[in-house]
């Protein structure tokens, strides 16, 4: 034993080794997994049991209502009345099946519904083109979606008598058609406007900056409903007496301005993430402000914020339901008016209508959120080494 400088006695250091623990009985297989993930401690076991109770309370009744006890075919309320069928009745899908055209087109004239179908197909083409990151000529896709498609859609849906497409007043539009029109107008208008506002908010010109800040903070500080009310009652006041604004156009303007403010903040986040050197590089190449923005900064910034943009589209898509409150006949409204149809007076019709709507919105929103996640991972792939 060598004599060394005496240090403080480290009494908390263990002197003798711990006896080796026995090897775990199970290290792989479902039992080991369950032991590690579900029953590792008394608390954990209690939580597992709690979760099981919740699942048992929720899933079987839901399954019974939506599928097992559900009615899938039928012509009227008798198909879904328990006293007629002599058994408990779950969801009345027969009601949805019979009203599906009403839910999709509203009161759009039957002989003109092919136009709506063409519009849906064109929209799907444009959205697909933009969302598919490896699609050929995405610049053409953007031009199509933001310029060609809106014009064509307007001519198709509203009518263009010069080429023989009869006019259909917007009061006849309804259902999913209106829901999709409102969301697409919101998207098509809010993205360019939002980019402009974001650029303005980062501008060096104080008045431009102030105007953009006030605009953005105002719209973000008030609920969408008040915006829709304002568009409905105040827009006609602000225009000269002889100009009337279409009843559908008013909430469209409100939705577009509202979502532009949110989009501006998303884009601003992207702009802030681009290093200053990029701007300086563009300047040193002799590019003007707009050239530099268009060719260097914005492509990078927008790429970063694709997930954020998709998320605000999800919010916008859900928010379109609010137009039903100011009397626009959107998908929610068609369900509300179909469920009071005396032909379908059955106890579960209300819940079925809402379940159908929930499914519709869930499929779209969940799909979009998965897409945002996918893009996020793909963008992050370049960062992970």
């Amino acid at each position: 034993m060598t004599a060394g400088p005496q240090t403080l006695p480290l009494s908390y250091i263990r002197r003798e080794p711990i006896p080796p623990a026995p090897a775990p009985a199970l290290v792989s297989g479902p039992l080991a997994w369950a032991r590690a993930n579900l029953f590792s401690s008394p608390v954990n076991t209690a939580l597992t049991l709690l979760a099981l109770v919740i699942v048992v309370l929720v899933v079987p009744p839901l399954l019974r209502f939506l599928v097992l006890d559900a009615v899938f075919t039928g012509e009227n309320r008798d198909a879904c009345r328990p006293e007629v069928l002599g058994r408990p009745v779950g969801a009345c899908w027969a009601f949805v099946a019979q009203k599906i055209n009403y839910f999709v087109y509203g009161s759009y004239p039957i002989e003109a519904r092919w136009r709506v179908n063409v519009f849906f197909a064109m929209a799907a083409l444009g959205v697909g083109w933009l969302l598919w990151l490896d699609a050929p000529r995405r610049d053409l896709g953007a031009a199509y979606f933001f310029v060609v498609f809106p014009l064509a859609a307007y001519a198709l849906l509203s009518g263009f008598p010069l080429v023989g497409i009869e006019t259909v007043p917007t009061s006849l539009w309804g259902g999913m058609l209106v829901t999709i029109v409102v969301s697409l107008v919101g998207i098509v208008a809010s993205l360019p406007l939002g980019i402009l506002l974001a650029l303005g908010r980062r501008s060096r010109l104080p008045i431009v900056r102030l105007a953009c800040v006030i605009f953005i903070e105002f719209w973000r500080g008030v609920p969408l409903i008040t915006v829709l009310f304002m568009a409905n009652v105040m827009l006609p006041l602000f225009l000269p007496g002889d100009i009337t604004v279409d009843r559908l156009l008013r909430p469209l303007i409100g939705v577009a301005l509202f979502s532009a403010a949110y989009m501006a903040e998303v884009v601003r986040g992207g702009l802030q993430a681009i290093p200053k050197g990029q701007t300086e590089g563009a300047n040193s190449l002799g590019l003007s402000y707009w050239q530099g923005m268009r060719l260097v900064i914005l492509p990078q910034a927008l790429r970063i914020v694709i997930p954020g943009i998709v998320n605000s589209f999800i919010a916008l898509f859900k928010d379109t339901t609010l137009v039903s409150i100011v009397g626009i006949f959107d998908f929610i409204r068609t369900i509300e008016s179909a469920r009071i149809d005396p032909n379908w007076a059955a106890p579960t019709v209300v819940t079925t209508g809402y379940a159908f709507a929930a499914l519709f919105y869930f499929v779209f929103c969940f799909g979009m959120s998965r897409y945002a996640l996918f893009v996020e991972r793909r963008l992050a792939a370049g960062q992970t080494r």
Binding site: N44, L47, I207, V222, T226, F229, V233, L322, I325, F366
Partner: protein, 400 residues
């Protein structure tokens, strides 16, 4: 010899290309544009209002309302109350829903956010399903579902569902025991106030003591005893003296209806339920991302120092997570407050329903009513944002 060298001093640029001149020109153009639009809007509005014979101004707030409101926190009567009183009633109802909704959503959201990170597979998956389902269905649909499909499908008053503690649920709403305060009940909140002050003082002294000597005092226990014990003591004292400060009126089931108790209207129940369930899903995500943002090395370091899991969470992880959580949590609180305006869809008398709905329809004072309503929400937004920013500044990382 021809002089080819440039002149000394800064290069002369044509004023057309001078960034300063151009900037000023753009801004003047913008101002002119905004001014023009505003002037046209105002002059059109003035003319349209004149044609419609609607007097502008806020005088209508003093007129008698002539309609009734189902839920009013302050006395309100159709025959005597004014539009101004209707505004106050709506505003208070909005604030009530927002405050209760925020409290419920925060608790639920934190629980679910932590559950998503639980090592328990079952619980984590369940929380994920909750978040995904609730987040991806529009709030309006959820409110309609609770109000039309669930609450309206409840039994009538005669066979209301009874819960322990004299709570009844039926189509007309939720009936809970109603506390009735006696005149000398002020002693209890007073005792509570003294308790809070004493607890704060004790905590301050304990902190100083710990900084000086390193000895820890049982701050939590003593604080709890002071805050809860003093009011209980005051209550007991009053009760012993034969004065019952708080009596509870229980709802009683009669032959046809429930009598007594506090009735929470179905609109209110549906709105609070829908808002807090919806917002909780978003808060859960905020909490989850905040906790995940704390580097794993922090937990490991704390454990290596010998901290037990509880103190690790309380002293190391949560303070750092709060920095990430607070700003988006603020936005969620604001969203909930703004979303409470969806009350109009199910007929809960909030600010939008009472003021922008009924009052606007009766008076036609569109500009004033819309301006007041928007100003209220803007003020709530700005005040909440300022308050949360102050808190945020306190917890934010201070760097050099």
């Amino acid at each position: 010899m021809p002089n080819t060298s440039p002149a000394s001093g800064p290069p002369r640029v044509s004023p057309l290309n001078d960034p300063k001149v151009r900037g000023a020109a753009y801004q003047i153009l913008l101002l002119l544009g905004i001014g023009l639009v505003a002037w046209m809007a105002i002059s059109n509005a003035a003319e349209n209002l004149r044609n419609a014979r609607i007097a502008s101004g806020f005088g209508f707030l003093g007129n008698t309302a002539g309609f009734d409101v189902s839920q009013a926190l302050v006395p309100f009567a159709a025959a005597t109350s004014t539009y101004g009183a209707a505004f106050v009633v709506g505003l208070l109802n909005t604030l009530l829903v927002a405050v209760i909704g925020i409290a419920v959503a925060t608790v639920l959201g934190f629980l679910i956010g932590v559950a998503r990170l639980s090592p328990n597979w079952m619980l984590a998956k369940l929380a994920t399903v909750y978040v995904e389902v609730v987040r991806n269905i529009p709030l309006l649909l959820q409110l309609l579902f609770w109000y039309v499909a669930v609450l309206a499908a409840l039994p009538g008053a005669r066979d209301s569902l009874a819960f322990p503690g004299s709570v009844f649920l039926n189509q007309r709403g939720l009936y809970v025991p109603k506390p009735i305060l006696a005149a000398d009940a002020w002693a209890i909140p007073a005792a509570f106030g003294i308790g809070v002050a004493a607890a704060l003082a004790y905590r301050f002294r304990a902190r100083r003591e710990q900084a000086r000597t390193g000895r820890q005092a049982p701050v939590g226990l003593v604080g709890l005893a002071l805050v809860l014990g003093l009011p209980l003591l005051a209550w007991a004292g009053l009760a012993l003296a034969g004065l019952s400060p708080v009596t509870v009126e229980l709802p009683v089931k009669g032959t046809f209806n429930l009598r007594g108790g506090l009735q929470l209207f179905p609109e209110f129940v549906a709105l609070v339920l829908g808002l807090s369930i919806y917002t909780a899903a978003f808060i859960a995500e905020v909490v989850r991302s905040g906790i995940q943002a704390v580097a794993k090395g922090q937990t490991e370091a704390a454990r290596a120092l010998g901290l037990r899991p509880g103190p690790t969470l309380r002293l190391v992880v949560i303070p750092q997570a709060m920095r990430v959580i607070v700003p988006p949590l603020t936005s969620q609180y604001l969203n909930l407050t703004k979303n409470s305006s969806l009350a109009v869809a199910i007929g809960y008398p909030d600010l939008v329903q009472v003021f922008m709905g009924t009052v606007l329809n009766q008076t036609g004072q569109a500009v004033e009513v819309v301006a007041i309503t928007m100003a209220v929400y803007l003020t709530i937004s700005l005040v909440t944002a300022t308050g949360m920013n102050l808190y945020n500044r306190r917890v934010a990382l201070i760097e050099r």
